[in-house]
Each structure stands twice: as C-alpha cells, then as structure tokens.
C-alpha cells in the first residue's frame, strides 16, 4: 500500500494556490470516481470540472521516488489541481475502489519503460561513451570574448573608483546599467549579476551613506573576480582541453551553469543520501531578476549543511514550481554537489520522503558544533576569501540562549564561548524577536542553525538563528 502524507503532497504542488485548489476539489466532492490499482501503486479517478466531460486524472507511483501525474484537463500548471486533489483525497482517507489499470496508462507506462531501457542501454553498452567533441575554435573565440568582457568591466570599475562613489549620479548609474547589458554579450552572466548588484546598492531611494561600505566591498569583490577570472581564462586559452574547474566557484562566477552529468563526471555525487531540511526561505533577488528559493539541509551521514537553490526567473515564475519548506526526511538516490565551500549547493532529481524519527533528531544533535571558537575560525577562514559566500550557515550546539540587559541575544557554548545573535541583512525576515516567545526549556542545551554575517563597519561577526532543535521539537524561526 502507498504511504504518503498530506505535507508530502503539499511539497509536490507548484504553489500555494494549487494546494488550496486541490484540497478544494476534495472538499467540494468534485471527484466522481476514485480508483486504485490492485497493488495500490496507481491512483486514478474522474473529477468534474467546467468542461463537458469529467477530467480523467491519475498519479502513478510505479517509480516511488518520482510519481507521474497525468490528467486530461487543459491546465498548464503541472501537476494540476486534479492530480493533487486525487492525492489529498487519498491522504484524507477517502475510499478508493480497486479497479483494473486503464489501457492508456498501461501503454504510457510501456513507452516510459522503453525510454528508460534505451537510456540504460546507451549507458551500459560496451563501447565507451563518445568523448564530447569540443569545438576548439568556438571555445577559443568564447574565451577571447570573455577576456574582452573582463577588460571592459575592469575599465569601468577603475574609472568609477578614480572619480569616487560620491560622484555617481543617476546619469552614471544609467551608464553602469548599459554596461550590465553589454556584459551579456561577453558570456559573463555571473559578472553581469554582480555589477547589477553594485548599481542597485547606489540606486535612488537608498540610504547612500549606509550603502557605501557594501558598494566599496562589491567593487573589491569584482576586482578579485577579474583577477582570478583572467588568470583562469588565460590558462584555458593556452590549453583548450583543460577541464572545467570543479574545485572553486570561478566557473559559476563566469556564468557557467553546471549540468548534473558534468558534476557526475567529476565525482561530485553521493549515492543514497538522507537529507533533513532545517530551514528554508525565498526572496526576490533584484540583481538576478529572479526569485530564489533556498533550503538548508543536513546530510545525515556526513553532518554537512548543504544548500538547495532554485532560481525562478521573474518572467517564468508563474509556470514554475515554487519550492517550499519540507518537513520529512528526503531519501535521495543521487545527491549532486556543486563546487563550493561551506554549504555548497546540492541538487537531486528524485526523492522518497519518510517521516522524521527520534533517531534522526538525535543524529542532528550529534552533528552540531559544540565549540564556537572552532566554528568561528572555520567561518572566518571562508570569509577572508574575497569570492566566497559571505553568509555561511552552521549547526551549533548551545548550552543556552540568553539575553543581556541591553536586549542583545546570545548563544553560549559549553565552554562559555559567546556568539551574538542579530538579524542580518542577507535574510529577508528577522527572527531574533521570536526568541522571547519560546519556552525557557527550549533555549537550554539545544541545537541552533545559524547564518553568519560579518559587520564590516563595526568589526563584529554576528549570526541570525534560523532554527532551534531541542529534543524532538524543531522550531523553525525562519520558514
């Protein structure tokens, strides 16, 4: 028998409205017929809609990690509300009559099987996979263009610095935006985003004085990128056969979008990983002009905190699945890791959920870092690299979470080490103000997932709490 929870169904939905609509169909009793196959791996039924005839929808769990939704409705949303409704009807405990699997689903299954077989055959065939042909002239041309782009970028930045940030007016900002557009022609989408981020820092409506520090820092970052990028590209120009750099984030900075097959080639895959999401948030990134869904996950075996990132371009956001908080353990057959430092980005295509057990939470506690001195050292080590991620996330153990008379919040480790808790600019939502609402017992001998931020002007390193784990209770302060 199929075992799924309502929250798992929620996670399959493309957005909150789809959840509501799916549940609405069950509430309104729109399902005329509910069936399941003999083995229970296939749910199918008929749902009345605005059309003349009922929609026939089905959800096939023949590959449990990757349920297949099928429906005859014309909706562009996928999965549509009918498929989701069918699953909600199931989790609500409605009775599904056993019926033979419909003909068309059998044939569709066969086709899908054949596709998988063909693919497997290709992979397993004796002849070694053809090495990807690299068009050397094209590649050289691309690299030359990228180098040219770096020159353009450098020239702009240096001239900006010579005349000073104080002289940047709306006319200048327009000119910078023009450069942002130009960089697109030089295959430098990563640099393009960072330059736009710089321009946004100085855009109208912001407190300039407060932005200058960040703007200056952004310029230094771009400087570091230009230096490193140029050296890398030059070495590649010498040897076009040189493989992608899978040890640092330079490829991403240059605008490379890693493909899972590439990651696999470099051995950046873990098989049979188990992940528990500890925090999630989503924000609208003006510099990327995309919505970004970010999840922080603990990998059970290694104890590493990974990050899932989904970009949803504003224009396509309507048709893309919006990521969400996930409350179960994700059993992932293949976990792909991107190059990076702490909280490297991960991706997985297939996943099987299972309920969180006490053992999972005990494991979380055992993976928490108990010494802040050590944790801070690791963090600082990452921060000092100009191109690194400036807001690393860590799971810390806290002897207690307390407050000072002035209202500052702090984590204290077993050895008395301290860490100030404050809301940071990298996150869209504050959390420390929630701490006083928690029961005292939750704030002692607990694990806290925090995101760090270095306050350049004050010379302080602070952290924002994202989630508190105490015993069997996970309190998500963010999402």
């Amino acid at each position: 028998m199929l075992e799924i929870s309502a929250s798992y169904v929620d996670s399959l939905a493309p957005n909150a409205a789809a959840i509501k609509n799916g549940q609405g169909l069950v509430k309104k009793k729109s399902f005329v017929q509910l069936n399941r196959s003999e083995e229970g791996e296939l749910l199918f039924g008929q749902c009345s809609g605005s059309g003349k005839s009922n929609y026939e929808c089905s959800v096939d769990f023949i590959i449990p990690e990757k349920p297949t939704f099928r429906c005859t409705c014309p909706s562009r949303q996928f999965p549509c509300k009918h498929g989701l409704g069918l699953l909600y009807a199931y989790t609500d405990g409605l009775s599904f009559e056993v019926a033979p699997i419909p003909e068309d689903i059998i044939s569709k299954r066969e086709k899908a099987e054949k596709r998988v077989e063909n693919k497997a055959q290709k992979e397993n065939s004796d002849e070694p996979p053809k090495p990807k042909k690299v068009n050397k002239t094209a590649l050289k041309k691309k690299i030359a263009s990228q180098l040219e782009g770096l020159d353009v970028l450098e020239k702009l930045i240096l001239s900006l610095i010579r005349s000073g940030l104080g002289t940047i007016d709306s006319k200048m900002l327009k000119a910078i935006q023009e450069h942002v557009k130009q960089l697109g022609n030089y295959y430098l989408s990563g640099a393009q985003i960072e330059l736009r981020r710089f321009a946004l820092l100085l855009a109208g409506g912001r407190d300039r004085e407060a932005s200058y520090t960040y703007a200056a820092e952004q310029l230094t970052r771009l400087h570091a990128f230009i230096k490193k990028g140029r050296a890398y590209l030059l070495s590649k120009l010498d040897d076009p056969e040189l493989a992608l750099d899978h040890t640092s984030t330079i490829e991403e900075w240059l605008g490379h979008a890693w493909q899972l097959t590439e990651l696999k080639e470099f051995g950046l895959v873990t098989e049979q990983a188990e992940l528990l999401q500890l925090a999630f948030y989503s924000y609208d990134d003006d510099a990327r002009q995309e919505f970004v869904d970010v999840g922080y996950w603990l990998e059970a075996a290694s104890g590493e905190i990974h990050r899932t990132v989904q970009y949803r371009p504003r224009k396509a956001a309507k048709h893309m699945r919006e990521d969400d908080s996930f409350f179960e353990v994700a059993q992932v057959p293949y976990l792909y890791k991107y190059p990076g430092d702490m909280n490297a980005r991960v991706r997985f295509e297939e996943m099987l959920p299972r309920a969180v057990t006490a053992a999972d939470l005990a494991n979380v506690s055992s993976k928490a870092n108990g010494s802040y001195a050590e944790a801070v050292k690791t963090v600082k080590n990452q921060l000092k690299n100009p191109l690194s991620d400036k807001s690393p996330v860590m799971l810390l153990h806290a002897a207690r979470v307390g407050t000072t008379e002035s209202g500052q919040f702090a984590l204290i480790d077993a050895a008395g080490g301290q860490l100030v808790l404050e809301d940071i600019s990298a996150l869209p939502q504050g959390t420390v103000s929630l701490l006083p609402y928690l029961h005292n017992s939750q704030l002692k001998d607990c694990c806290v997932l925090v995101m760090f931020e270095h306050r350049m002007d004050q010379g302080r390193l602070v952290a924002q709490p994202l989630t508190i784990i105490k015993g069997e209770a996970i309190t998500r302060l963010l999402y």
């Binding site: 930045i157 005349s163 000073g164 200058y212």
Partner: protein, 595 residues
Amino acid sequence: MSTALLQELHQEVRRLYIAGSDLAPGDFRLKRLQPQFQQLGERAAIFKRLGEGITALLESGEGTGTSVKLQELAMLLGSVLYTQGHTAVDGEVLDIAGGGIPLSTSYSYRKLAEVQKALSTTGSGRYEIVTDAFAEGLFNDLRLFPFAIRALDDPYSEMAEFAMDKILPSYGAAVVPYLIQCFNRSGGKSDVRKLRVIYKAGGAEELELIYDAAENGADEIRVAAIECLAVHEGYTDALIGWTLDKKKLIREAAYTALAAGASAQGIERLFAAFSGKDKELAAEALNRFPSEPLTERLIPLLRTELDQAPVNNKDEKASDKAWAKVQPFLRAFEYVRMPLLEALFYQIVREADRFTSLSWITLLDKAAQYLEQTNSTEVLSLLQELDNKNHRYLPYSFRMAKRLLPPEEVYMHYVGSTASKLKSVVTKASSARERQLLDTMEYMVVSYDYYNGEINTAAPLVEAWDARWLDWLIDRKHLELVAVFARPGHKRVEEFLLQSLEEWKEKKKSGLNTIGEHVFKGLEHAGVEEARRLKLLMEILEDSKDRSLYSFSVYLFHLMFHFPKSYADRLEAILPSYRYDCARQLEEIIGLLRK
C-alpha cells in the same frame, strides 16, 4: 593585533572609495597611518604588507594606477578584517524571561509568507487572506504571532479589529505578558486595542493595570479602561470618582460604566446626576444600559418637570428651557418597558392639548410610540382620539389597530367612517389625513430596495386586509398600493392598471422601471395570464425607447426571460434604442431566445 588601527585604515579606504582614488597620492591622513603600519610590520608580516600597500597607493602616479592600488589595498585589508570580527556580547548574558507561548512552527513557507505579506503591506484582498488563515488555524504558528500583535496597528481598521476581537484572544492568557510589554498607556488607537485584548484575555488578573490606565492614561485609553472596569464591583468607587472628572469624555465613560455595572451605588450616582449638569451624560448612559429601578425613581421627577412646565408657548424661552429638562428623561427611558412608564405616557397623551400648545410634538410622538406597542384597546381608543386631533399621530393608532382588530373593523374605522364624510366635503384637513393613511399603508406593505431597483411587497394580503381596501385605493388612484392589493377576479383593478399604463405612455416616457414594476406586478397579482403580460411588456419596450435608462429592473428583466422565441427579432429591432446595461440585458435575452 591592533584592530583599532585596522578599523582606522578601513575608514580611510572607505573615504577614498567615496571621494575618488585620484585624491589618494600624498593623502595626509593616509600618510599619518603609514609609520604605525611600518612599525607593527616589523613584528607581523601582514602589517608589513598593508604598509607596503599604503605606500604604493600614496606613491601611485596619475591615471588608473591609483584605483588599482586602492583595490589591492582594500582587498588585502578586507581579508584581514574578515578574520578580526568580534563575537563577544555587550554584557552579562541572562536567561530569557517569560514562560513562552505554546505555539508550533509546523506550517510551510508558502502558507506563512502570504499571510505575513498581507499583514505587512497595504492593498486590497488582505483582509480575506487573514481571515481565511485564521479559520485554517495558521495563527497557531509562532511566526505569525508577532504579526498578529502588529496587526493592531494596521491602517485598515477592520483588520486591526479582527486581530483584536478574534486572533489575539484566541491565544488566551499567554498573550497578555507580551501585550503588556508593548502597551503604552499614553498611546493611541492601537494601545486602546491592546488594552481591550489584555482585558479580554487576561480578565480579572489584569485589573490593576487597567485601573492604572484608567487613572493615568491618554483620554482614549482611559475611556476604554473605564469601560473594562464597569462590571467589577471593587472599582465602583473609582468609577464614581471619575464622574467628577474635568473632562467630559471621562465623565461620559464613567456614567456609562456605572449604568453597565448597575450596582446600587452606581444607580444612586446616576440618579443624583439627573439633578446636576451631567443630566445628558447620565441619560445617554441609561439609554445604552436601561435600568428599571432607576426609571421607577426618575418617573416622578419627570412628572414634576411636566407639571411645572409653562401652560403655553407664549414665553418661548421658558418653554424651551422646560423642554431641555424633559428631554434627557425621554432618552433614558427609550428602551425601558414597564407598567409605570405606560401609565406615565398614557397620562401624557391624555394631556395632549396642553403639550400641543407647547409644541412638544416629540413628547407626544415618544408617548404614542411607546403606547403603540401595548395590547390594550383602551389605549388604542386613546391613540385614535389623539389622531383625530392631529393626523400626524395616525400611523401609531393605525398600526396598533391593524395589529389588534379584525380587518373589517380597521377598514370601517379608518375609511368607513370617513368615506361618507369625504364624499360631501373634501377639506384640506381630511385630504391630508387621507394622504397620511396612504403613506402609512405604503410603509407597511411596500419596501423599496433602491440599490437593486427592486420593490418588495409584503404578502399575504388577502387575509390580513379587508377586501374593500382595493376599491378605495383605486378610487384614490394610488398605483403603488393598488399593484400590491390587486387580486384575481376583480374587474376594476385590471382596467385601472392598463389605464395607468396608457396614461404613462401619453405623458412622459421616463421611469419605465417604476411604472413597469408596479403595473406588471399588479397584473400578475390580478391573475392576468402571462402571455398577455408579456405582449404588453413587449409593446411598452417598443414604445418607450428610453435612451437614458441604465438598466432594466430585476423583475422586468426576469419577466423578459419568459418571452416567446418569436420576439427575438422584435427585440433586435429596438436594440439600438437602448444603451448601457439595458442594451446588454436585451442582447442576453435575444441570445437566449435564439439558442
């Protein structure tokens, strides 16, 4: 490592980024730092490198060199500073006080974000999101708790009130400490709301705080706090004290609270107020919270005032003054019903002549209004006597008679008796009286829904009213009422309705909805078969062509749905003569007929 020095350098570098690196060569403030770095450089390599960076920048020539050197220095300095962040707190770390609030964090981002956005932005559709979320139980999530508290400040007052009445009280007493934390007794509207929630959720536990707010808060807060203290006996003395406050607002609240609490002492104070300057305030309080025992004690006072009133209106000032004394009593008695009061009003009506000469019409209105609700025929005859004197009071007696007497007696009394008289002499007074009667009847049986352009008629009329009314109404050509009273098998009614329609057609051609509504409803009541009515309606539509009409009334529009299919072409032909919604309605009908 000297962090202060590094910070100082950071500030200088930041300054040069803002002012421009072209100013860096020879910059004296940068120059001043240089020796210190050189000195420290002898011990730590990193300071040496920074010192070299400073030198390079100071000595960089014209051109882009300055900016490159500044970038290099900033990059190196940044890396160093990133390793120098303090993590220490600013004092002794204490435990976080408070028992917490027992809420979970089990809802997902997608569900929470929508509500958080609704409660932190402005715009339409927010209220619905929040009420739905509340119904779904989303506010049991910790992360919405601060948003719920902040909702008390929401610029959309309905949202703030929903938070006050529903969301926050649902947390129970646990919410109280957090509200107290942010409660400001000198604050404004949102603090009033906080106070109300504190009282609602905290109850008797928080009376001291509420008392303090009532004593020392801003006016708005004091009023709300006084209201909260109304039913708590221990605070009666305090409430009595506030009735002596300098501010009228506070006295008003105090009197209202005393009336609501209805304690013996409170009643005594209200009674006393009736002989003081706060008569009106006490009267308003009693209007909201009527009190029988107090009414009983106030009736003799009113009686005395009435007895002492001037005999006529000669001295207008004196009579106005007397009236001002009487008015608060009437206000205080408005919602009380008791035999003593009935006796008082009965007596007032009996002395109608005296009060009429004082032009205290309102007094008689109030009395008649009260008496109308009683069930005694004796009272009815008194009221009928009153309306004989002045038709203004006819509605009271007529409604009462309608309620108490059999239909034929009502007809006989109000029409039968006057009808014969009317035939002979039509005086000004009698026609005004007739008008009054018709108006009263119209109020009783017809209600207008101006918003939807609908006219509702009260049914069933056949048993409730005497059959002779219809003829009487036709005689008076009262179309609205004839339409309501029309019944099948009455020959004159059909004639009259058709006649009315003809007259309308000849005269002006606007107001199609009103005439149509009356005539066609009347015809329906009169039992005229549908086919004929529809034919008539079609003719009217063809004849009217009222280009100023915005839309057909619901009744007429619904009638059109019954048109035979053959009318489609005729409707099409007149379509250009109608505009706005009318045209759309006709198109819809045409579409339906052709389907």
